[in-house]
Amino acid sequence: MPSPCDHRRSPSCGEPTGHRGTRVRAGRTHRTAGGLVAWCLALVAWPAIAQQPAGPQPKPWDAILVASFNIQVFGESKMAKAQVVEILARIVRRFDIVCIQEVRAKSDEIVPAFVRAVNADGSRYQHFIGPREGRTNSKEQYAFVFDSDRIELDPSSPTVFPDPSDRLHRPPLCARFRTRVIPVQMAFTFWLVATHTDPDEVPQELEALTDVFLGMQRARPDEDDVIMLGDLNAGPPEFKSFSRIPGIGWAIANTTTNTRRTKTYDNLVFAWPATAEYRGVSGVLDLQSTFGIPLETALEVSDHNPVWAAFHPCEVAPQGAIGPVAAQPQPLR
């Protein structure tokens, strides 16, 4: 698929090398790779852990890769397992931004320690973690972990979506991001809306999340891109309430997303034509086949597989024309 960013590419935007390499701009080293197709092929052919090359892994020059990963009970005991942490770190490094669900820990050091493990290969990931949420004293946090060479967070943007009627067990964490791989004026900006539904109240929570999505579309007039992602505890046949959102669609369908390969729980949801930046490429990173590990071992990592989708790094106008739609990050109004 040709990239609408292609003909706008300038030397400062970086030329595709068609192969793995590095380039330097403004004193920063930017990793480049083949395009999205090459990246997808590399993902499919991902070798076993021991064969992974050292150093930061290349990423496609013509796409940013957004992932959602429920890392079941991501806390002290999981972080104490070095090999689990190593697999988790390798997963995160494949993507530009990962929305993590189920951080469950007394300590505030779990995610920072994990990001240090991710960056052990020279990567420069950063993170933002939300408050502890949940109606009982067993609470969870959402976190965004992102490659700061390719993505930046609007620091004024993170917010927990207001839920005064208490419709959601864990109200979504919303944050706005911008790609850094092309000039600011052209960069794709977008809201990420992290969610993890209560499995006992899925229809009611999907109804509430529909309102959240519509609310985030109105959050600021210069931002038309809303990507809701996370563990919905539901698959597309249960997305009936989403039909209230004009042009709604989702990245994952007709496949399973849990580690046991029995359920479709995780997804990325966004609307057309607003998010015309979607490259039409998405997938599930199957822990067992990717790492060549048995189910029992994969379950030590998580009971969910990561799901992901690829987006153009530049703004794409809804009619297919190319140009800036969103302004630079500004404080929420």
Partner: protein, 169 residues
């Protein structure tokens, strides 16, 4: 990272009450990883939600979130746990009773008591939800549900209204 040996649910259940926190954490984690196969351990996992160690509670909650409805024959034990007083234990006992649906009809009185006397809002809300899941067999709870439906807690009011509709009250 070697794969675990085949899961012995009974052994893991016994380990959930071990004196050593590390043993309890490991048992709860292994039961969580066992998925639906751990359903015979549901009562023990609900009890473990009252453990002093947060990681035991976290793994027990994670296991219960995904485990589905309990096997037949656990209603009485869950009812006992519902009355036990610890909020997280009561919350999960109510949740499992609700997942049992009509099979938990004998727990209507306990759930109604919980609805009217529990001091933790998450517990009262879950009790209302569970009564709705039991359906018409929870007709005895109509009056307290109507009271809850008219209350100030918006979530409790909504759940009580939904429960009344499910019960036919």
């Amino acid at each position: 990272m070697a794969a675990d040996a085949p899961v012995d649910i009974a052994t893991l259940v016994a380990s959930l009450t071990d004196r050593a926190a590390a043993t309890r954490i490991d048992a709860a984690e292994r039961l969580c990883r066992a998925g639906a196969a751990a359903s015979p351990a549901i009562v023990a996992l609900v009890s473990a939600c009252g453990d002093d160690e947060a990681e035991v509670r976290d793994w027990a909650v994670a296991a219960l979130e995904e485990i589905g409805p309990p096997p037949a024959g656990m209603v009485h034990e869950l009812e006992h746990l519902l009355r036990g007083g610890q909020p997280l234990v009561a919350y999960w006992a109510a949740t499992l009773l609700g997942r049992s649906g009509q099979a938990a009809a004998s727990a209507v009185e306990a759930l109604t008591d919980c609805l009217t006397t529990a001091t933790d809002s998450a517990v009262t809300q879950r009790a209302a939800w569970a009564l709705g899941k039991i359906g018409p067999a929870a007709a005895a709870a109509v009056a307290p549900l109507r009271h809850a439906a008219a209350g100030q807690d918006p979530r409790l009011a909504r759940l009580a209204t939904e429960a009344l509709a499910a019960i036919g009250g």
